[in-house]
Symmetry: C2
Subunit: 491 residues, 2 copies
């Protein structure tokens, strides 16, 4: 066996073990008995320990030093690129620092939950300050003298810098706040009223999953507190939730997770259990979930079909026609919470987090000043004040567990989805007619062929650029949002 | 940290990883998407590889050589006993042989399934001959010049020899065949007729699980093709099955698996994720499942309560009174299949397998002669001929996957259950009254305190001897069966 083959055999086992760790996560959120939690903690720690040791195993370094990339084909070179990046990542951070981050973030998550319940940021601030300090130290170790925040971003979105994001999102912000303000002045659509049987919701949601191309023979749809997608290759499971008075939560959570899940299912099976065999970045992943959910799922064409499905499932539910239904689905409402935000406002929530976390990492903002910085920025962008910390700076778990550099991938996914949608409309002239029939195959087939099948073969931005035929930027997303909401709100 | 503490920390991680492998098995049989099977194969191989490497890790040998058992307490010495046995087991078998057995048995299982479907033993014989040859080679490596079959038994029932089993079961066989022949001559009870709603079966089966002390906060009951129990400590899951015309299959499968599951749940939590933290042997495990299912669950007292529950769940189902119900539950019917056999005949199925597999391992019986040897023995013990191989020598998966020495633990469990039941009746004079109220707590509490809580602290036979106050033998089981079936069949 060549050194490359030996490395790949080792890597294949590592990927299989990583899939197992993912499956345990799924189990914990769906079927695990409540009383099993303490034991599960030890089980997760044990498998994470095995994975960590394998990722920084000295023989990986030796194989990497032995292999001559010039004698490999493109696919093998791409595999090496991922393996080398992961190995460098794992070996650059001192073991003592990694252990300390694991311990502190595990405790900080509990502190955050308590502070949020008590609506008391001051109680959480010292813990968060410790997390920030440790993550900065880690970022410095990773950055090797370069930009600390960029080094963090590379964990989620390799090849993208804070400056890139600043350029994209800096252009978005004034346009979105202006559009939002105009929408707020206009006449609002009605609100959905009524009670919708939850088992009928689950039945329709499974139909929606199939409609968007999710392969049930290699997946399943269960209920969980938070919707998520888990696993790669032949075993990709999604979850959704139901709420009797809010069926859209169920349906659009499902369509969103199907975007993630179908991406994982549709990667070329030649890459199964290799570094190329999973979505290439958080941003590209989010581009798939967002285009499924928003550009396709919330389109006038698709909602006209969904309206008919809901009439079949629930009878007359008090919405007179498909156009009213479309306006209800896309209603813009005031709100504090990112995860509940609509398509128009969502990015404003993310953009403020990016600016705040970059400032924290640069040392330009102290944790003690974070709450007031949050509140000022929120009021500036949304036009009304935060009423309490649990609706403000304490709403997200991310920072408590050390996820810095993660938030912007949500909006990057939206930007990418905007670019893909522009290219898709060009490539599939029948798109609206297809969606109006409940047929997503022309759209999902195009995404499969142009994005999903490649897995990790190309760098994230290249993946999108190849699909769209040009370097991605924020213009298509902005154009799409302006056109959609100007039409909806008759601006 | 002392060498012992270091060893135990390492061991704790190994046990946690073993729990994960068990959870994957549960997942595969209950919730895994069908199309995930090939990927799951690689995942299982990866975690088994990790476990195998840890079990024979050189540092375990070094720790074992360093630790002075005389300076340890009884619990720690018992931990060491298990760890040393597993380490010796793992290191005695040459790696090439272990790999060959893994490969051949994995293929043999497929060949067995095909041969069974085609009712063609000749097609399977060459494959089985290879398995037998490899397992004998492994047995010789393990036996170190001792008895090969005893070495195999030690994997499932440490401290028990083939000669011990021969003594117990040799005494049972003529008595059981005679009892069976007498029952066959007597008037048979009626057969249960009707159709029983399967979701009502699952509802009642979950109630039965709770009635027998299964803790749902640390477990769950699902449907699967084959009933089983999986996991130890805080996460012990069982499965059952339903059949519209055979509700007893559901209920008694559940009670049987609750015996296994409650054993695992009730082990002293101080042993969690250590070698002492699981059932001590297959035989002791089976003693718990069998006493729950048979001596308790199929008793006149308990069935009188179950009869009332079934009337509540299904209305009048055509059985006039509790005594008739008791006779139906314990009906003895002719049959070829071990897993479908009643309490009286079950051990005869096992005893013939023990004699045949010992002869195979000794070389006294060739695989080519196995089918005729099976058929002769079956007719001698059961009084009618085998009609086809799938009802005979091809009915069980065990030999195809290399499980030699496993079958006798089923009957050993019955023998142990007989001893425990004798002691339990002495210790709990109110037993029948309690069971007639659907209250199993006096019985299950006694088993918990006298057997289950100890986990692996004592050797298997000692575990039973301590609970019963004497060395276990077959006499109590035989006495119990004779009394029960003589009464039922008015012999």
């Amino acid at each position: 066996m060549s050194a490359y083959d030996e490395l790949m055999a080792f890597q294949r086992e590592t990927e299989a073990l990583a899939q197992i760790a993912g499956r345990l996560g799924w189990d914990q959120e769906t079927v695990m008995p409540r009383g099993a939690a303490p034991q599960r903690g030890e089980e997760m720690a044990a498998i994470e320990g095995v994975l960590h040791a394998r990722r920084m195993a000295p023989q990986v370094g030796e194989w990497l030093a032995t292999i001559d990339p010039d004698r490999l084909d493109d696919v093998a070179r791409a595999q090496l690129r991922h393996i080398r990046r992961d190995f460098d990542r794992a070996t650059k951070v001192p073991a003592a620092l990694a252990a300390r981050i694991a311990r502190v973030t595990s405790q900080a998550q509990g502190s955050w939950a308590e502070a949020r319940a008590a609506d008391d940021f001051a109680a959480f601030a010292p813990v968060l300050a410790e997390v920030v300090a440790l993550k900065r130290e880690e970022g410095q170790a990773l950055a090797n003298g370069g930009d600390v925040y960029d080094a963090m971003l590379a964990d989620y979105e390799p090849g993208t810098s804070g400056a890139d994001l600043q350029a994209m999102f800096g252009a978005l912000r004034p346009e979105l706040t202006a559009l939002r303000a105009a929408v707020r002045e206009a006449e609002a659509p009605p609100i959905l009223e009524g009670v919708f049987d939850e088992s009928a919701q689950m039945k329709l949601t499974r139909q929606l999953a199939r409609t968007f191309g999710y392969d049930m023979s290699r997946g399943r749809v269960d209920k969980a507190v938070h919707p998520f997608s888990s696993g790669s290759g032949l075993d990709v499971r999604i979850t959704t939730r139901t709420n009797a008075i809010d069926p859209f939560n169920c349906f659009y959570s499902t369509i969103h997770e199907v975007g993630h899940g179908a991406y994982e299912q549709n990667i070329d099976h030649a890459y199964l259990l290799t570094p190329l065999g999973q979505g290439v970045s958080m941003g590209v992943h989010e581009s798939q979930s967002r285009i499924y959910e928003n550009q396709l799922g919330r389109s006038r064409a698709f909602t006209s079909w969904l309206y008919a499905q809901m009439r079949d499932a629930f009878g007359d539910f008090g919405v007179a026609d498909a156009e009213t239904f479309y306006r209800i689905v896309n209603r813009v409402s005031d709100g504090f919470i990112r995860t509940e935000a609509d398509e128009l406002q969502y990015n404003l929530h993310v953009l403020m987090r990016l600016d705040l976390e970059r400032a924290l990492m640069r040392g330009d903002l102290l944790v003690d000043d974070l709450e007031s910085a949050w509140n000022e920025r929120f009021e500036a962008d949304f036009g009304f004040p935060v009423d309490r910390p649990s609706n403000g700076v304490l709403q997200d778990v991310h920072w408590s567990v050390g996820l810095f550099g993660y938030f912007p991938t949500y909006s990057l996914g939206n930007v990418y989805a905007g670019c893909l949608y522009e290219a898709l409309r060009r490539a599939v002239p029948t798109l609206d007619d297809d969606l109006a029939q409940g047929d997503t195959s022309s759209a999902t087939g195009w995404l499969r062929q142009n994005v999903q099948t490649h897995g990790g073969l190309y760098e994230p931005r290249d993946t999108i650029a190849r699909a769209c035929g040009k370097t991605p930027d924020e213009a298509p997303l902005l154009g799409y949002l302006k056109a959609k909401f100007s039409d909806l709100y008759r601006l």
